[in-house]
Assembly symmetry: C2
Homo-oligomer: 198 residues x 2
């Protein structure tokens, strides 16, 4: 479909290239922006520039940050003896939201996936191993509950057991607010397996 | 939720301000852009600038355009005796996609909605009336099939009948590929009402 404007077409195509945005949504977003005052669009445009200019990886935990090391890695309030290993920066946000965790993080930027050719060298695994000094007393593996996350968990657990560091994984079970009869067999069997004494 | 980066937070908030984008999607889009090469983000940023700099309203049909009058209004191939009236520029795209319509358009930029305080002066209605010279032989009303579209259709039909111009509306009925038993009563009764002889 050709637009009467090249500039509209370009923005629609760029929006369409983003994950989970289809062509219809891209059109709607573009037309919405066209109706906004110039300041809004200018703000958007320069915010994208700032994003690329200001944000880098923390050289310790590989989360996104504006200062290196990041505020979590440098905070006096965080417990430096625990490192929680996650796949993505989004996962750090999700865990921070609980307000329960006071240790440090390590972002792998993915999970092992031999079919897609993602091996240990494509993830921040050697950077994790380099952080495992005598201060670190526990590694919490908080990877996604799917095949890739499972493979990565097993791989990391093997390394940390050789280094003799206590390694745990987050519990898999029935989500809060959900219905037992709606849980799939895999989840239910993990929930039984991981039962705790009352 | 606080991010460790102000620049990330700004982009997430700007994405969240767009229609149909929630906070989780906004986060995903922002992190996706962070992973892209600088050129992609630069392209996005400057495409948004171009959008505001290059695109304006066609002074004839009020569709978005880079040249005024727009390519449809100036095309020698279009039938200047028919004007199809729509609510939004998206609707022009949708009709152009059919490849069936060869006349001109007029974009109202909304529909009458007394509850939201949108009256005739908030839409491009007087601009439409100004276009109704002797060349124009038919007005096709293609507004959305809801209360606001219906009110606007009746309002415009009254004006055009006073000006003695043939006025039609697009058919309402069962959509192609859908199931008769799934159609609601209103649609089904319009489909019966609008039956044509074979």
């Amino acid at each position: 479909m050709h637009y009467t404007s090249e500039s509209i077409e370009t923005v629609v195509e760029l929006f369409t290239s983003l994950p989970s945005i289809g062509r219809k949504t891209a059109q709607r977003l573009t037309f919405y922006l066209l109706r906004q005052p110039r300041e809004t669009v200018d703000k958007f445009s320069s915010a994208l520039q700032d994003l690329k200019n200001n944000v880098r990886f923390c050289s310790h935990c590989f989360n996104f940050t504006e200062q290196d090391p990041c505020v979590i890695c440098t905070s006096q309030k965080r417990d430096k003896s625990t490192i929680c290993v996650v796949e993505d920066p989004n996962d750090v946000l999700a865990i921070e939201k609980t307000g329960e965790y006071k240790g440090l993080y390590h972002v792998l930027h993915g999970a092992l996936n031999p079919l897609d050719g993602i091996g240990p060298n494509d993830l921040k695994i050697k950077e994790l191993i380099a952080r495992l000094n005598t201060d670190v007393q526990e590694i919490i593996l908080a990877l996604n509950p799917n095949v890739e996350g499972e493979v990565t968990t097993q791989y990391l657990a093997k390394i940390t057991s050789q280094l003799d560091i206590k390694t745990t994984r987050i519990a898999r079970g029935i989500p809060i607010g959900s219905d037992l009869e709606l849980a799939d067999e895999a989840t239910l069997s993990r929930a039984l397996e991981g039962r705790i004494q009352l």
